[in-house]
Symmetry: C2
Subunit: 797 residues, 2 copies
């Protein structure tokens, strides 16, 4: 296990998480094209419980999802490429005995290698080695190479290479009673004389997916002339190749697959495009080489190098790898969002939540155009968000908590508590704070890139419409002379109503209210920044006048926060009156209490009664804002903000949080980065293990947690370097944990590419050759001007 390679061999139980995270390779791009567009309710079995998904599974047959989600040795049809000796059974390593198994994910090159040696019922021993990839440089291409060695036998062999449109979604156990079939067969056939072709369509959204496959067999580098036979069934087409294998001999099978969908640009029809592509395609080695080069270019920009380079380095790279599988430059011309579980599993059915808040900061500083694409995904759904606001009796745009292809609210109305077997009312759509996350991301993107074109055309409109929503959602309380936002939920999903309240929702959630203020401030900024022509056009189109802008100003100065005399910011109005929870008692009784909601519900109780949180809520504020920014927001509202406000609240809330979400450790590690470096590092290391060790015990197999993965990367990227945008200055205030000697990374900032090295002693920033104007770099309290091809080093102690 180097810093670049994850290896899984034998069947060591402690490697459960590893087994899961390995399996993402090759799903990357193709799934991204399935996940978002098809993530739309198309079937209702239980009231409010939607089944979506779509052709992920079709695609994952190209990858090896199927394998990962089943027992590892259950490999009846490995990527739809299988074989049998004549008269024998199709490849089934369990039949006679599995002699060796080795699986290796090369993060640097994006290649998964497997080696299996097995014995069949007739005592034939065979070794199979496969390498496969989905091309990082050409997202229409996947390739699989399989080497087959007859160790102790000779004879005729039949290879079957298929395209299977009959795959279903079955990766999440608790969804299996729901509808799982999302594809309709459209067409199967041949391409030229030899290659095969399949076209299917998703059954609700009617997205067509076409694949063509070329299968060739080589002996000693020469193509083998083989007898070919086609098998066509509804939604299934296969190429059967027969040839003779001699004892000790190895043949190499290449399966190259082209894939297009009806949503692709620059084509006439996806079936035609897939067929033409397969006729033009190169051999496996050539495809392999350009794929590896594409990964090398990505890593040059996206790697973060730690010293010492131990397990943390490897897992950090695994997380970056998953980020790039889901959100590489391959999405630039697609209408896709970031699903909460990346492109790895089926949980949440590919739906989009607020995870961008944790994911985009990494992309914005390295692949800003990927961020732009993901923000455009939101912009394209702005009209639906407007409609959503109207339905809620508000103005502006209210993006839904959980959404799919058409941007409608898809949050479930009930969810299952597997512990009690009960279906519970689900009010998660009250998490209006997702709207603030969108504005935060737009703002960060514009700060980093100064992409005024994006701001003018798209960003400003989103910011203004979301600001308008918050202003309309805030009601004035004349007694307090404050605005209030009522009946919402914060990020902490353990609280969705007051104890014994009929109606769901909580009032004056601190995170929501303060984020709304911040959004209103940014909206006021935007109106200042835009050029006159665009501002006028936009205001006309949105019918936005001076009176409304004055109202925003007012709301942004009089929003209510509930703060007690000790300076503890109430998570929501009334939180202070809830009972303290018996942490010790429950820990003793249940051991793992990170899903306390399920435990309490099964007992007939509810976390609504207690000061107990699933995840960071108030502390999200300290995660997103520096102390200076928080202080100025409090000042704007006329609340006092003391030097100790942050540490007091961190202390108060960390004690009362179960870490029921993988995101929680990220936030806690972050907020402790300066005040308690040792504890911050410990939480960081725990967060690193979220998926690779499957610390929630089973959720990784349903899909990796992309927000948490990105969050760990962002802790290194921004929290430990103290990287922060303050108007025209890029600030650094490094504070490495003792465990790190140095961190090296490259970021893009306003047209510059900056190499940044942080050690315990110094900070060095080098700007590469560029067309951009010099930028201001702040280090602690000093501001430096850095021009292209220049470098600065600052001693830190």
């Amino acid at each position: 296990m180097t810093n670049w390679t994850l290896v899984y061999n034998d069947f060591v139980p402690s490697q459960e998480g590893l087994r899961e995270v390995l399996c993402a390779l090759g799903n990357g791009y193709f799934c991204s094209r399935g996940a978002a567009p098809e993530a739309k309710a198309d079937n209702v079995h239980y009231p409010g419980t939607y089944v979506a998904g779509g052709y992920n599974r079709l695609i994952t047959k190209l990858g090896d999802h199927e394998v990962a989600n089943e027992d590892l040795v259950n490999l009846p049809n490995w990527l739809c490429l299988t074989f049998r000796p004549e008269g024998g059974d199709w490849f089934n390593p369990q039949a006679g005995g599995l002699l060796a198994y080795h699986q290796e994910l090369d993060l640097k090159r994006g290649v998964l290698t497997r080696r299996v040696r097995f014995r069949d019922k007739a005592d034939r021993e065979t070794t199979l080695t496969s390498r496969h990839l989905v091309h990082m440089g050409n997202h229409h291409l996947a390739a699989l190479e399989m080497s087959l060695t007859a160790e102790n036998w000779s004879g005729p062999v039949l290879v079957q290479s298929a395209l299977d449109g009959n795959v279903i979604n079955a990766g999440v156990e608790r969804y299996r009673e729901l509808s799982s079939s999302h594809l309709e067969p459209m067409e199967t056939g041949e391409v030229g004389a030899d290659w095969i072709y399949l076209r299917v369509q998703t059954n609700l959204s009617h997205i067509q997916v076409a694949q063509a496959a070329r299968t060739q067999i080589f002996r000693n580098g020469e193509p083998l002339i083989v007898a070919r036979n086609k098998i066509e069934e509804e939604g299934y087409v296969a190429d059967e190749l027969s040839f003779d294998l001699v004892r000790g001999e190895t043949v190499r099978i290449e399966k190259i697959v082209s894939l297009y969908t009806s949503r692709d640009h620059g084509i006439s029809e996806c079936g035609l495009a897939a067929r033409e592509a397969i006729l033009r395609v190169e051999c496996f080695d050539a495809i392999f080489n350009t794929h590896v080069q594409a990964w090398a270019r990505l890593w040059r920009r996206c790697d973060i190098v730690l010293e010492p380079a131990g397990r943390e380095q490897l897992i950090l790279r695994l997380h970056i790898f998953h980020l790039l599988q889901t959100t590489s430059p391959n999405i630039l011309d697609l209408d896709v969002g970031v699903p909460a579980r990346g492109l790895h599993g089926e949980a949440y059915r590919g739906h989009i939540f607020w995870d961008e808040l944790f994911i985009l900061p990494f992309l914005t500083l390295r692949l800003p155009d990927v961020t732009r694409t993901l923000l455009l995904y939101r912009f394209r759904r702005l009209n639906e968000a407007r409609w959503n606001a109207v339905q809620a009796g508000c103005r502006g745009a209210m993006f839904p908590w959980q959404s799919g292809s058409d941007g409608q609210e898809e949050s479930q109305l009930v969810h299952l508590n597997p512990r009690s077997g009960h279906w519970i009312e689900d009010n998660s759509s009250l998490q209006k704070h997702v709207n603030a996350a969108i504005v935060y991301n737009v703002w960060q993107y514009v700060q980093v890139t100064m992409d005024m074109d994006f701001l003018s055309l798209y960003g400003a409109e989103m910011i203004l419409e979301i600001a308008r929503f918050w202003a309309s959602a805030a009601s004035y309380n004349p007694k307090l002379e404050r605005y209030e936002i009522l009946r919402v939920m914060g990020p902490d999903e353990y609280h969705d109503r007051y104890p014994d309240a009929e109606e769901a929702g909580l009032n004056n959630n601190a995170y929501t209210n303060l984020m709304a203020v911040w959004v209103l401030c940014r909206a006021l900024d935007v109106l200042d920044i835009l050029d006159e022509e665009r501002r006028q056009s936009l205001c006309e189109r949105l019918d936005l006048g001076a009176e409304e802008i004055d109202h925003w100003e007012d709301v942004s100065r009089k929003m209510r926060l509930v703060i007690d005399d000790d300076g503890i910011i109430s998570q929501f109005e009334g939180y202070e009156d809830l009972d303290e929870f018996d942490w010790e008692g429950y820990r003793q009784k249940y051991g793992d209490i990170h899903r306390l909601d399920r435990i309490l519900e099964a007992e007939g109780d509810t976390p609504n009664c207690y000061k107990v949180s699933k995840q960071a809520d108030v502390l999200m504020l300290m995660y997103l804002f520096s102390s200076e920014e928080l202080s100025s927001l409090f000042e704007r509202l006329g609340y006092s903000f003391e030097h100790e406000t942050i540490s007091k609240n961190v202390d108060y809330y960390m004690k009362r949080t179960t870490q029921g979400s993988t995101l929680s450790r990220i936030v806690h590690s972050w907020v402790l980065a300066r005040s308690d470096r040792a504890r911050s590092w410990k939480l960081f290391c725990e967060a690193l293990e979220s998926d690779i060790a499957d610390i929630q015990g089973g959720t990784t197999s349903e899909g990796i947690h992309l927000g948490a993965m990105a969050g760990t990367v962002d802790i290194i990227q921004r929290a430990y370097t103290g990287l922060e945008m303050r108007e025209t200055t890029l600030h650094f205030n490094p504070c490495l944990p003792d465990e790190l000697k140095s961190v090296r990374q490259k970021i893009g900032y306003r047209g510059h590419w900056l190499d940044i090295e942080v050690t315990q002693d110094h900070l060095t920033i080098s700007a590469a050759k560029s067309w951009a104007s010099p930028v201001e770099i702040g280090v602690r309290d000093e501001v430096h001007i850095l021009a292209q091809s220049e470098s600065i080093t600052v001693q830190l102690r």
Copy 2:
């Protein structure tokens, strides 16, 4: 007829062109979504003669194309909304007699109004007034309002409002024997209880198109309760409404249509999207108002105001109107190019040629993001252009002369000479110069916007790959120590081979060769401009090394031009040896000789033998480049460039050109703008009449000539103002024709919006409030610095 309104009434023969140009309203957006994606060969009747097109016609039933292409009074089914008195025939104004007809296109508001008064067989007199629009601010919406007055009768009336998927392409007479049906019915049905719905798909590209329609009838502003009946046939659905009409009474019928295609973003399925949209839609008046506002915003940015404001002003606005119908901001999220005939007619089947060269300069300075979108259309087809180059034995990317959805070469192999009835070999795909046009547009866009993001991600790759193509297409002639480009065609399509040559193509076309040099220079610039990270990535990906770059440098300094002792640049090598043409004789014999190719072919002769051109070829160089730029290109090549080179060549070639293309007058007017202002103005005025007077006698009904329309606008915009980008400076050198007192326009330049007023005496440039840094403005030989919110005035004499 004001400066904003085109009126057509009665049947004045001289208004033939006007009749045609009127009919574009309402086709704009919808067609744009048909034209480019579906413009792909799907049927071959005659060898090499492709039939494409698609759902234009479906859409035009929403607009009024159908009407315009047929006899004006033949209105059996007006936008699929018709009526009959019970027992009478469906609306047919010819049956009893047309009493009055009035048709009016309001360019400012984008509304077409028609008034018809007619008598039926039973002597019932009825007046119909209609207004219709396709919404400029919401491209998913079209609306039609029809007022119906029973002048001298009373009785029950039946209204039929339909969605018709059985429309065909029949707008071009000579295509009518080819396949004309391009839609397959998919689904018809109801939305809710009352509204109707249709889904069809194009038969090759499988693009689905869904429409839903709401039809309501109002009397005195109140909705009328009517009996409704649905008619469903394959590919056709209609709503039949019956009610009573009283003599002298007017009822108002509103038909609102929503339209989505399977290529739209942010939806699940287009049918679902269309159905949901129609349920949320507002009333006609509200739709009308927001539509008019959207046009007002566009005009604020795109209008060019002339003084005096005569017929030229009106036609100029008509041309801008057509430009915006085809390329408004509604295309920003679509994968579309600019068809040569706009979105008005079916000629060339929506294919894309080089017309962008004439069209984009207007857009780049006003709606730069529209240009970006149109350039991305090319970028998305870069891989196909690479394949095209490989097929031709070249390297890099060779974009095709004529292309559709998937970017493959679609040029016909034969074409019909209607004069002789012969099918003639067509070598137009030898016009490789389209590749230079693409680079020219990319470069202009980057110069105007400084959009380095676009350059880095897309523009640079196109420029480098096209440069690579030109370098590989140039062969070294060691005897001359020059590079040559052999066997191509220039813009002048009258010459496609040497007299008596077996093989088609001409050698060393001056336009092609010099443009290749210019492209290579820009490629070398780009490598200098890009930041180090992007440059390295790009060069790695394209496998572009120092040796190849040196070769480009070499080719860019040693390209061959054939120039005679008098300084006449040969259109191609050997042009100088062709016979002079008997202009006088042929003019006497045939009168109109602008299509001399057809005349000569019918005589068994060919223009290949003569010094006669269809359109500007060498003079394109003077059109695209200033004298300074040309001089520096000649110098780079080691050819002498005298002060008189331009005037000599203009004089030489203008005499030998038939203006067989509408683009030719544009170029000639441009190159004379300084040396012969009177003649330039005359040519400009003739070019203005191209479509409105249908000066080619019948081609306007097949589609307006968008390149020529844009060209006239560009003459005002750039030629007469002397507007030119020179590295970091925006230059002006105004030279208005005597006929113009002043020109006012607004342009966008590097983040500024500049109001520009040019008169005979002075130039005033005012920069609006903006975020952008000051820019350099050159006026004649002086450079001024202009900051936001500032203004400069320069006296011109």
